[in-house]
Symmetry: C2
Subunit: 301 residues, 2 copies
């Protein structure tokens, strides 16, 4: 299967849709956008760094490469529309790799209504590299940025934390549907997805918003896979595991109460702390910080 | 310089603009689009395949990685707006590579008014891989696709062909300004950029449009670098050299005459042949095919 066969495969199999009047087969695609504009994100995954092809089926790699981007779109409060896939495929395994990789990606795209609108395929002697760009539409409330957290806000997370090393990093559900249901009900002030660990990612919200955070040790929702660890070790995993792909967001107290009374999604929504004036991330209760949290999450470089 | 320093570098140095109200520093960017939508393209370049870092300054690699995408936007008749850059950097040369690579890209972006709106930076033990996604705005006449060539149309190319191996592939000007000037004057029926060689790229137009092409051997504009070759060898280079990054387009006879009388750009515009009914690419004169052209351009895989 040469490059043009892969293009043909994609043209026949990739989901299409009205948002992409020109897809695979021209020099560029044409993607329609809302009046607000398009949310755009790109993530590159490499064999041996973000996955290990000798331990992972290519279908899951393709699904992950799309999913990490869908999680970014969700973290801005948006819905994904179109994906573009750039590949370096190892020449010697092209035949066995290209098709299942793209099938995994295409199936994940279909699940979330995403059009595979274009890409670039290359081969080389090196390991697999896959870079996916996803475009999406903001919620009608507008994009939710990192910089809007206000003193007094509640800090929430979706789902449970700390199971990335247990396999979640290859088997997560980007919170696209959940964020729509949440924003349909209440406005959020800031949001990020947990790709580098809560301790690192929440600090991005705090720094961008110019505020401090207080987390309650007793309220961090721990993944069942952490049950065999000590409470301290489990908490550390929950705050520093790299790839939970849950959402962390902040919202005003009245919105928080509304959301707690009427959880619009099928997974847990947990208030884990509060925003206060100042800087840094602290353990404490309600708005009272007790000690600075020393843990940090995953560092890319 | 770790990942966050590179992000800071980009945030300070990357060109910004009103089309990108949210750029580097959130989970996604927000890019405004025209009512027609956004043109979107992605190209991935690898060390040892598309460039050789031991022979090429990183600044030129950064400029090429953007330029190949600008050429794709130009080939649809559009103007580029925003770029997203995904990188795998070799860990041992991160310090010497990251900054000049991005400076080359940022300078090229500035030259064409492109906002560097986001990206993803990774390190590994492998060679440099750079994947750039560019979004653009179609000309008010609408996107120029590959599929619109009509029997009777003229086939034109911009500039001279065949000098890619002589160094053009690292030192080309994407025809962004030229295509705007051309479309401001006349409508085009089909277009492609010459990234795989005229023989291959023009065949994409012919296949997508369901027509045949006749090229006049005496009208192919040969790059000065081919002067020391025989006419036949020079023609072969002009038709099969991979990366000229000139534009090949088709247009109706009246538009062609207008363009020849009033060339609106500072480089040659050359009518090299005609579109006729049928299939395939032929040598001939005017609308009379004489023999099928056997040469093909660069094959990626």
């Amino acid at each position: 299967m040469g490059e043009w066969d892969l293009v043909d495969f994609l043209r026949q199999r990739a989901p299409s849709g009205a948002r992409v009047p020109i897809g695979i087969g021209d020099d560029t695609a044409l993607v329609r956008c809302s009046d607000q504009g398009a949310l755009v994100t790109v993530d590159m995954l490499m064999d041996g760094v973000h996955f290990c092809l000798d331990q992972t089926r290519p279908e899951r790699v393709g699904a992950k490469a799309l999913g990490v981007n869908l999680s970014d779109i969700a973290a801005m409060g948006g819905s994904p529309d179109a994906a573009f896939v750039a590949l370096c495929l190892p020449r010697q395994s092209f035949d066995s790799l290209a098709r299942p990789l793209m099938e995994g990606l295409i199936n994940a795209a279909g699940e979330f209504g995403v059009v595979v609108a274009g890409g670039d395929t290359n081969t080389w002697e090196g390991p697999l590299v896959i870079s996916v760009t996803v475009m999406g539409t903001p919620h009608t409330r507008g994009p939710v940025r990192r910089s809007g957290a206000q003193s007094g806000d509640f800090i929430f997370v979706t789902g449970n934390l700390g199971d990335s090393l247990g396999g979640r990093h290859l088997d997560f559900t980007p919170r696209v549907r959940e964020v729509k249901a949440i924003l349909d009900r209440v406005p959020l002030t800031a949001m990020i997805d947990l790709s580098d660990g809560l301790a690192t990612d929440l600090r991005h919200i705090l720094a961008a918003s110019g505020v401090a955070g207080v987390l309650d040790r007793d309220h961090i929702p721990l993944a069942p896979g952490l049950n065999n660890l000590s409470r301290e070790d489990a908490l550390k995993r929950a705050l520093t595991d790299g790839e939970d792909f849950e959402l962390c967001f902040t919202l005003a107290p009245a919105a928080a109460q509304d959301l707690l009374r009427n959880n619009p999604i099928a997974i847990p929504l947990t208030p884990i702390g509060r925003i206060i004036p100042g800087a840094g991330l602290h353990w404490g209760h309600d708005s009272s910080p007790l000690e600075e949290i020393a843990w940090v999450g995953y560092q890319h470089i």
